[in-house]
């Protein structure tokens, strides 16, 4: 992990026009930086603007104030430095697994042999090589999500933006996918911003956790996860200090005081 900043938000505020005609702030004055090779998790209550930050980082939204920078360049629209992945796998049903993995590199007009080389290599890494010719409907949810991850990595982005990538799969598959993600991020030395609702996922997968407040979302806490083995979240679950981190996150999110929760 070098000290180079890969992704940075500087005083980012985003307002949307509400139906009443009043501007409604989704996020307010958010500033943080993610360094090369770092994995940062972003947690916060629903609707606090986490996904808005992701869309700003990927260039799909332009912030109302402030700016996002990737590799030191101001984000002025979609660019090749970032790639994102959502909870939905968004695989194209008419493309085979191999063709789906090549989707991004195809859009970026890489030569065909290079596309195939990258896609086949990634499928190999994810133990999906034998399914290269299958169609998405023939795969399980976990496999589909791995294909989506391979598609994201195929464009070789500087920064991965992950928006609750595993929240739609069952608990066991999720643990396997988390480990695969952690390993591929480590192997490729990738920088990632991970949005999640799962506090344990945030702690086991990342180097740092940023906590956001209710709308308008602001960063209210930053927790450095000082645990070894970031590439093995399953082993990290066993670490005794994990519970302390989770407890602190719960406290910061005010979960125990929310209505309906036991006192």
């Amino acid at each position: 992990m070098s000290g180079v900043v890969r992704l940075e938000y500087r005083n980012v505020t985003m307002r949307f026009m509400a139906t009443s005609g009043k501007g409604l702030a989704a996020v307010a004055e958010v500033s943080f930086a993610v360094r090369d090779g770092e994995v940062v998790a972003l947690i916060g209550p629903s609707g606090c603007g986490k996904s808005t930050l992701l869309n700003i980082g990927s260039g799909l939204y332009t912030p109302s104030e402030g700016e996002a920078l990737v590799d030191g360049e101001r984000v002025q629209g979609p660019n090749r430095h970032v790639a994102f992945m959502l909870q939905k796998d968004l695989l194209l049903p008419w493309r085979t697994v191999l063709e789906n993995v090549m989707f991004g590199v195809e859009i970026q007009r890489l030569p065909l042999p290079e596309r195939r080389r990258r896609a086949l290599g990634l499928l190999e890494n994810f133990n999906l090589a034998e399914f290269a010719g299958h169609y998405p409907h023939q795969l399980s949810g976990g496999m589909r999500q791995r294909v989506a991850l391979a598609r994201t990595l195929a464009v070789d982005p500087s920064v991965l933006l992950l928006d609750e990538p595993f929240s739609a799969v069952d608990a066991q598959t999720r643990m396997v996918l988390q480990r695969e993600l952690a390993q591929s991020l480590k192997r490729a030395g990738k920088t990632a911003l991970l949005i999640t609702h799962d506090l344990l996922e945030a702690v086991t997968l990342s180097d740092r956790v940023l906590v956001m407040s209710r709308r308008p979302g602001r960063i209210i806490d930053e927790i450095r996860v000082e645990l070894p083995q970031r590439d093995d979240p399953i082993a990290r679950r066993e670490a005794p200090r994990v519970n302390d981190y989770v407890a602190r996150l719960m406290d910061r999110l005010d979960i125990s005081h929310s209505a309906g929760a036991p006192a």
Binding site: S58, P78, E106, I107
Partner: protein, 264 residues
């Protein structure tokens, strides 16, 4: 095991279908006689078949069928192409859709076959007014299906492509166009049968060519068997058109799960 269950279902289904057909043909042959229905109301199967052979020999049935089939094909192809084209254009331009939707709705509500006499006034007793009625009637189901398909593409899918720096053309060719194909084919299936309706109405209204003309001619002669022959031939033309669409669909949409393609 599932495949075996399917094939036994298919075997039983086919057996019942064939039995129903035989029962229907038998009822047609002997039913009218048993029930005392006069021959000019329902001629038995055998006399319809005799009429069929007679029409082949002396009434140019093959020529009339060929002309109707050609009009159906022309009307279907032109109407589908136009419908698909407008569906894509309106689907990608909300402004165009907003501006044109009242007129499109009005045209869609107007009974298309009512235009047949008008087209014959314009173009005379040629094949063109018949083709034009078919074009008009085929246009809407195809256009509406394509338009809806383009509208319902997952916006997250488009955002994913945009984040990969896709151009507008890439989004269309790599996402919107392939996503529109299943609904397009559903529209084409409907269109293939509607094309026959359009052509027949055109032929009924004017001219002396095609199966629609034979229908009107048989009616004028009180030749019920001739009317039946024309109806059967029209069904055959429509059936072949429908089958052709299904065959193309199965090749193009080969990636869909099998069961989604089966069934009529």
């Amino acid at each position: 095991m599932k495949a075996a269950a399917n094939s036994s279902l298919a075997r039983r289904g086919t057996a019942v279908s064939v039995a129903l057909l035989l029962a229907f043909l038998a009822a047609w042959q002997w039913g009218p006689g048993v029930l005392g229905i006069p021959i000019f109301i329902i001629p038995p199967l055998s006399s319809v078949f005799e009429e069929f052979l007679r029409m082949l020999a002396v009434s140019g049935l093959a020529t009339h069928t060929g002309i109707t089939a050609a009009e159906v094909i022309a009307g279907f192809l032109l109407g589908s192409l136009l419908g698909a084209f407008f569906g894509y254009v309106l689907g990608m331009s909300p402004t165009a859709e907003f501006a044109l939707s009242p007129y499109i709705l009005a045209l869609q509500i107007a009974p298309k076959v009512a235009f047949a006499p008008l087209f014959i006034l314009w173009m005379g007793f040629t094949v063109y007014p018949k083709i034009l009625v078919a074009v008009l009637i085929v246009f809407f189901p195809v256009m509406v299906n394509v338009l809806t398909a383009i509208r319902t593409v997952d916006p997250d899918m488009i955002n994913l492509a945009r984040a990969f720096t896709a151009t507008r053309a890439q989004i269309f060719w790599k996402i919107e166009f392939p996503a529109s194909l299943p609904p397009l084919f559903a529209g084409l299936r409907i269109a293939s049968t509607l094309a026959v309706v359009g052509v027949v109405v055109g032929e009924l209204v004017g001219g002396n060519l095609g199966l629609g003309y034979l229908l009107a001619f048989g009616e004028g002669q009180a030749n019920t068997a001739m009317v039946f022959v024309a109806i059967v031939m029209l069904t055959v033309v429509g059936g072949i058109a429908y089958l052709a669409v299904i065959l193309v669909e199965q090749r193009v949409l080969h990636y869909l799960p099998r069961r989604a393609l089966r069934g009529v």
